[in-house]
Amino acid sequence: MSILINKNTKVLVLGITGKSGRLQTEIMKRYGTNIVAGVTPGKGGKEVEGVPVYDFVKEAVNNHEIDVAISFVPPPYAKDSCIEVTENSIKFLVLTTEQIPEHDVVQIIKYAENKGARILGPGSAGLISPGKCKLGVHPPNMYKEGHIGVVSKSGALSYEVGKTLTENGIGQSTVVAIGGGPFWGLTQLNIIKLFQEDDDTKMIVLLGEIGGTMEEETAKFIKKEVDKPVISLIVGSSAPKGKSLGHAGAIIEGDLGTAKSKINALREAGAYIAKNHMDIVEQIRKIEGK
């Protein structure tokens, strides 16, 4: 098993005729992802990599069985497109688009929440269940099937760790990049909850970053609800202090958001704090050795 996607997942690609949409469609298809349709306004009737393109999500839904969608739509059209997807009862959307206006992002997330739909992103690199399905831009050769669930804010860091695990013979159940923030549909907590419930995931790797308070909240959840081993790498300890978000930001975050605060919270929750990517491998081996 895996989380969110599997071998049979039927995929709709939004913005399929754009540069990224086209290339990633090709790579996903080659990996074996079952892409059944694409949408780009005004390009209905065309084909990309053998995938039929429609003008509207409704048309795609009427002509194909669709489980999930992945969006490569540019920022100005992202909100409209996300709502169109949710409105058409597609319950899981990977939103790769970055640089979406914050007022739009907030509406995208709230609307999905109202409709009981899941959004991974914005700015998500997607997710991959090695050997089963790749829904996003994870470089295929860096992953192999196995039992480690990885969740990361950063896409690139999830590739980095995936690569390290794979090179050391450790496979993954699913590797998920939730996006760099500052807004998220699915959070670390949501993904870890799914890993906890997933029979095929034996251990969880949590890749966090300085800023925000998400890791602190995730730690609370881990402490209460997670009994699988959690190994965490928090990056940014040596980074210069970020620019202030003004009074309002400081009031909201208070003392939270530093690497130290996150590491303390996670350690207190029982997670192993890895020094670097190689240390993750060592810790996994140690646990497996038991």
């Binding site: 914050e102 739009d104 996003g136 896409g155 500052p182 300085i210 308070t213 003004g246 009074h247």
Partner: protein, 377 residues
């Protein structure tokens, strides 16, 4: 885009939020006719202006031009004072804090009010949590009457109607300007009613496509008072590069924020020191690669450059092309260590090989080599 106080107050006026009457004094102006008393406020975009002595009151007993010259001589957190906002003085009975921004953790707009307000709001928030109130706003509903009634009650507001109109106006600005923050700190209660003593408005650069005219107007205002170089920062961006300058000797470029931060940590672990850091962000192509290399290399203290590429969206063929262009244009010899893998890596590596530039597959090795080289040089 952060707006100056005077720009924020222009918007406040348009939306009916009461502000003091006043005028702007530019560094280039000489000898305006001034009538005391006046509050003279340095116009800077950084915080901590009050504590840095950037706000003075002129009561007429001294020479105004002396105070003004002192203010123009100030540099606050690295930002030179180029304009002063001169405002009528008002009697303040009470100060409160009021802002609307996003609660990023909850992905929702939030109204924040504080019973005190003023310079020490963060500190007072830390010490007396009960004096700050947060009200989450549903972006589809806007701010509701009962929410305004709630904060009015908590703040002991007498003039509810006036208060309600200010909050509605703040939310309207927040929404219509695609702002990420609209802050009035302090909002003063004076004998004549409410007065917004300060104005902090941050606009969302990502929303520029909806507000071209507005952004251009605000930028022109900024350019008028700023050095050209500073103004440049708020020009339309065609790329998403983040550049941070530090004090070491290794230049770092990454194609992801997470791996970038991780690389900094690794360099630190191996005993290296970072000179500057360039994260290419979401829009990556050969031009962005070239530009990033140039930015990093332009720093004289850089002794080695580390390029960390692990492409998902980002294509290694594009990156290789950018690196080759840089190599061609570069007229000094800085050693570059490249870690390259991910999307289209076969083509990228092939291009690098043809040009005889070594690339590494392991992050550790690339980092170690870059650190070692910087230490040698």
């Amino acid at each position: 885009m952060k707006l100056y106080e005077f720009q924020g107050k222009e918007i406040f006026k348009k939306y009916g939020i009461p502000v003091q009457s006043g005028f702007l004094i530019h560094a280039k102006d000489n000898g305006k006719d001034l009538t005391p008393p006046l509050v003279l406020k340095s116009q800077v975009l950084v915080g901590g202006r009050g504590k840095a002595g950037g706000i003075k009151i002129w009561d007429g007993s001294t020479d105004a031009s002396k105070i003004i010259n002192d203010l123009f001589a100030l540099t606050i957190q690295g930002e030179k004072v180029k304009a002063i906002l001169a405002l009528e003085k008002v009697d303040i009975l009470r100060e409160i804090y009021l802002s609307i921004t996003f609660n990023r953790g909850k992905s929702t707009p939030v109204l924040i009010v504080g019973t005190s307000g003023g310079m020490d709001i963060e500190e007072s928030a830390r010490l007396n949590k009960e004096k700050i109130y947060f009200v989450e706003i549903d972006p589809f509903l806007g701010i509701l009457e009962y929410q305004i009634r709630f904060v009015a009650k908590k703040l002991n507001i007498d003039n509810y109607l006036e208060f309600k109109n200010i909050i509605r106006a703040v939310y309207k600005i927040f929404k219509e300007y695609d702002a990420t923050l609209v802050e009035i700190n302090p909002l003063a209660i004076t004998p004549g009613g409410f007065v917004a003593i300060d104005a902090k408005v941050n606009l969302d650069d990502q929303s520029r496509f909806r507000h071209e005219e507005l952004f251009n107007k605000l930028r022109e205002e900024k350019e008028f008072i700023q050095d050209k170089k500073e103004a440049h920062a708020s020009k339309p961006k065609e790329d998403t590069i983040t550049y941070v300058s530090l004090s070491g000797d290794i230049g770092v470029i990454s194609d992801g924020a997470g791996t970038g931060l991780f690389t900094l940590d690794l360099i630190n672990e191996y005993g290296g020191k970072v000179a500057n850091f360039c994260e290419m962000g979401g829009i990556t192509n050969s031009e962005v690669m070239l530009k990033s290399l140039k930015m990093v290399a332009s720093d004289q203290s850089v002794k080695s450059i580390l390029v960390v590429l692990i492409g998902g969206f980002n294509r290694m063929d594009d990156m290789a092309e950018g690196i080759l262009k840089f190599k061609k244009e570069l007229n000094k010899d800085i050693p570059i260590f490249i870690r390259m893998c991910g999307t289209k890596e076969e083509i990228g590596k092939e291009l690098m090989k043809k040009a005889n530039i070594p690339v590494y597959d392991s992050l550790n090795i690339a980092v170690k080599k870059a650190v070692k080289k910087a230490m040698e040089n």
